[in-house]
Subunit: 343 residues, 2 copies
């Protein structure tokens, strides 16, 4: 059977500290057959869009008890993406179908568990959205905000890493509900986006603040009811000081901590008692059964222009290593996507 | 009107670090009239039992945003106690009634808000129990375990400061429900009590353990479903490493942190995400409406001998300063009570 070239992004070895572009390599010598063997119930797919997400950092380290398995050095990396079915051995998919889910960082992949990916039904929106607002990050924002925070109209909401894939959505969901919403980000440009595009009430550049406690007091004179946690460390410490009684913290991620050998210590957890706070972590994969309900909510919001969604789209599979690394210095503006092919 | 002597325990000044006996003084020159003035709706009471509780440490520091107001230097301290009404200006109380609630660290007190104390209905149990199993610590164990932890039969429960007023009850409630229960304490004697009196499955002396993570792995090879947090700091860090997926942490107190200028940093809060944990703090005072329900449950358990309750009873108001200080070095064995008068 004829084989075609299949460029791949391979993890060279486990990473310590801040990941570098050189931790990955582009393998140009792999090939793949574009037909599945007889009797297979896998999918043979062409990858269109690949997603760079902060959680991937954890997969680059050797761990045994993480919630996601470590990558295998020498093998292609994997992550969320949008792909097109070229050959199907599974009853739910036929040639030409599109889906989003975990796929390889390569031009073509074999999906051995087709039950774990989501067939794309709405194609009248940009397909790349299925790596973000219509995919894992969208579900993360939806579940993490509505289910974990139990938000009420008029409450005061703080979102860190607020211009990222998840943060920009959480802020807008909160505004749609009638909350007061403040976001933090790491550049002036992102702060402008938060205020002018995403409709946050206020936003600040955490890198320009000397005293995060004082900053939060300025934006939340009466305290924070809901904190959507994406960064951890010093920001969490400052937030705890500013939470209101019975506040809720949805712990989605802690990007400031992923590259540290030893995490920053949070020294004021007694605030959980004195302010009767709850902190709850979650993994969106546990809650995908809510995806159809989320789609019912979000598709009309997109079509009616009630929600704004910004992507940072980079061209070419070769760009994935530098693009992934850039997430950890905040180089991306909006949801980070890499285009492998447009169709 | 005739006045009698009213010995008092007075806070000399706000405390930094570890409290000392000399931070308090016994004032022997105060006097009080044993009759209320005409038209008062207060209670004039004789204090019988006073309770020493860890949360009192917070009141000895000057803070403006604590959940309980700071004590006033130069004035008598106050805390939970059992008292007898000598004169009542309030319709709900008459002379001779007993109650538990916040009272002064003195022989006689005036209770200006009688609505805030609980009339004692059951007098066929030791009255001192109303500073513990039948009072605030009992309600704390009840609410913090059943409501915050949502425990299920067969789950693995870890209780720190387990021989204290709250911990000993949490462990027994968990055993009654059919959980596997391990407790930590700070002396060999307390460890023996946990195993032989309170029926914990296992117990250990945290002061003799070099590596709390390894210790917890030994007692919980499959991980911890529920952690009842009384100590904070290093213990919390070790527990986070050993929690099971979807575990729950009821944050009742953090006694290891109360005397520190700067709390110990907890560096592994990302476990909240990777293990989908929830941590929830509470203040029992928010939940006293459940007290009748708790009494319905616990009185039969006491009368049927299904629950064991150990008090550390010290004689005399003059003993309160040294007794309170002893809480923070773990000198007490069981619930710490001071007898001011027996009737």
């Amino acid at each position: 059977m004829e084989e075609v070239s299949n460029k791949q992004v391979v993890l060279k070895d486990y990473v310590n500290g801040f990941p570098k572009e050189s931790d990955m390599l582009i393998n140009t010598s792999a090939t793949i057959s574009l037909n599945l063997p007889q009797g297979s119930n896998a999918l043979l797919v062409k990858n269109l869009y690949l997603s760079c997400d902060p959680y991937m950092r954890n997969r680059m380290t050797k761990t045994e008890d993480s919630y996601v398995p470590s990558f295998t050095p020498g093998s292609p990396m994997e992550g969320f993406g949008v792909a097109k079915v070229l050959d199907s051995g599974h009853a739910n998919f036929k040639k030409g179908d599109l889906f989003w889910g975990i796929t390889g960082w390569e031009e073509y992949s074999i999906i051995t568990a087709p039950e774990s990916v989501f067939k794309i039904e709405h194609t009248d929106v940009p397909l790349s959205y299925y790596t973000g607002i219509l995919g894992m990050p969208g579900m993360t924002a939806y579940f993490g905000f509505y289910e974990i925070c139990a938000p009420k109209k008029g409450e005061c909401v703080f979102v860190s890493a607020a211009s990222g894939a998840v943060g920009q959505l959480v802020g807008q969901f909160a505004k749609l509900l009638g909350c007061y919403v403040v976001g933090s980000a790491g550049t002036k440009e992102k702060v402008e986006l938060l205020k002018n595009k995403f409709g946050f009430d206020e936003a600040f550049n955490y890198k320009e603040e000397q005293d995060l406690d004082a900053t939060l007091k300025r934006y939340f004179p009466d305290g924070i009811d809901i904190y959507f946690e994406n960064v951890g460390g010093k920001m969490l410490e400052a937030v705890l000081l500013n939470m209101r009684l019975h506040g809720r913290i949805s712990v989605c991620g802690m990007i400031s901590q992923y590259n540290l050998e030893q995490g920053d210590g949070v020294r004021n957890l007694f605030c959980l008692v004195s302010k009767r706070l709850s902190m709850k972590g979650f993994i969106v994969a546990d809650h995908y059964h809510l995806y159809p309900k989320y789609m019912e909510m979000v598709i009309p919001l997109i079509k009616q222009g009630k929600i704004c969604y910004i992507e940072d789209i980079v061209e070419g599979l070769e760009s994935t290593p530098v693009t992934l690394v850039g997430l950890f210095s905040g180089r991306n503006v909006g949801k980070q996507v890499v285009v492998v092919a447009r169709e």
